[in-house]
Symmetry: C2
DNA sequence: CCCGGGTGTTACCGATCGGTAACACCTGCT
DNA sequence: AGCAGGTGTTACCGATCGGTAACACCCGGG
């Protein structure tokens, strides 16, 4: 039949993004929805509009693909932290609250499955896995960052408050896949705001104001 | 050689526990350390001192084994909640603090890997997985329980405080596999104690006292 | 004594997985 | 026209996985 060269130009469905990027994006979506160990490289390649062979031309192994994906997430978060500190220079409390806003926004968009990084840690028990090392290293940096903010904010017990902040973030993310609570995001922001407002006076003793 | 009936009585290495229990225990250990999808039924059977065939005489499938394991954990937690309410009858604040103590104690004994239930949720994205349903159902019950305690305690905003409590617990568990912080357990208890003490007066406005 | 239920052993199945080889193709550049 | 590099296609490999069949075994009870 004479359909030979009719739709020639849309045969390649408009890549628009380089192959490597497409693979990383597809991998990210599938890792997050199906679980890292629950999806195969073939399905990832297909979802990226390519094939396994090309995938292995860009990534040495599935584990390295996982690690690269994680690195992308971490890099993005790092950017966000920098943007945050630029936007609220000299206002550590503002940074903490703003960060909680951003996390809350992400939680609202995350149905069922929780934080990608936390899930990855759960799925990759091997302490030597490259992706795990990347995540842990980031978490340590993030924790130091939060601790520094808590010190700058003049909180009475910065270590404790930093851990409180960390627990709130991590806990809210974790609760998304437990319970379908819709208040999670709002309550997270509310609690961080109270934490920040509460610890303002150095002589005080409160961590979060729950009583009004 | 005449070693025929010498060590006959210890040939079966003293089962002491019925096969099914041994399988569940071995499965639990391996699921927790290697990840649910990271361990095979053969290795589980071997660790239980038996073999795959016997395992499949007690469990229809690996998924059902996972579900039964999860049911055991949930049943144990449910027992603990009951014990808690019996021990602190009429003292909801005492129950919350005591629960945080128990969680902290478990966290101290949990190297690297976090909560088994949270990890299982991360590893089983399928919303129809039997184990996932069990976990989610428990989490909802637990949340109701906490909410009820917060109401009985007379907190000003029981929903918010219940979520705070929940975030603290979930967050502390999640942080175990991120950072090797040794203060996690202590800080968790400290924060819950402040939360409880702080929200005592109905007219107040604090959630957690972070300032002293 | 034999019988029967619970257990161990071996071998096997089909499916899927991560990963590779070989080769055809298409496209743009010179 | 011809070359070269990036990409697609197919087939395949070995390993592992969940799950099953068939059969030997052991041990206690009638």
């Amino acid at each position: 039949m004479l359909e030979g060269d009719m739709t020639r130009r849309t045969q390649k469905p408009r890549p628009a993004l380089p192959v490597r990027e497409r693979i990383l994006i597809a991998a990210g979506n599938l890792f997050h929805t199906q679980g890292i160990r629950g999806i195969g490289v073939e399905a990832i390649a297909e979802a990226a509009g390519t094939n396994k062979m090309t995938l292995y031309r860009y990534f040495d192994s599935k584990d390295e693909l996982i690690a690269e994906w994680v690195k992308g997430i971490v890099a993005h978060k790092e950017e966000e932290w920098n943007d945050l500190s630029a936007r609220h220079r000299g206002d550590p409390r503002g940074q903490l609250v703003d960060w909680s806003h951003r996390v809350a926004a992400k939680l609202a968009a995350m149905e069922q499955r929780g934080s990608a990084l936390a899930n990855a840690l759960a799925e990759l028990p091997d302490p030597d896995h490259p992706a795990r090392r990347v995540i842990q290293a980031y978490k340590v940096r993030e924790h130091k960052r939060v601790l520094k903010l808590c010190r700058e904010a003049g909180f009475a017990d910065p270590e404790l408050t930093a851990n409180l902040f960390y627990f709130l973030l991590e806990g809210a993310s974790g609760c998304v896949q437990c319970i379908g609570m819709k208040r999670i995001g709002e309550d997270l922001v509310e609690l961080v705001q109270r934490m920040v407002k509460d610890a303002r006076s150095r002589g005080g003793t409160r961590v979060i104001d729950v009583t009004h």
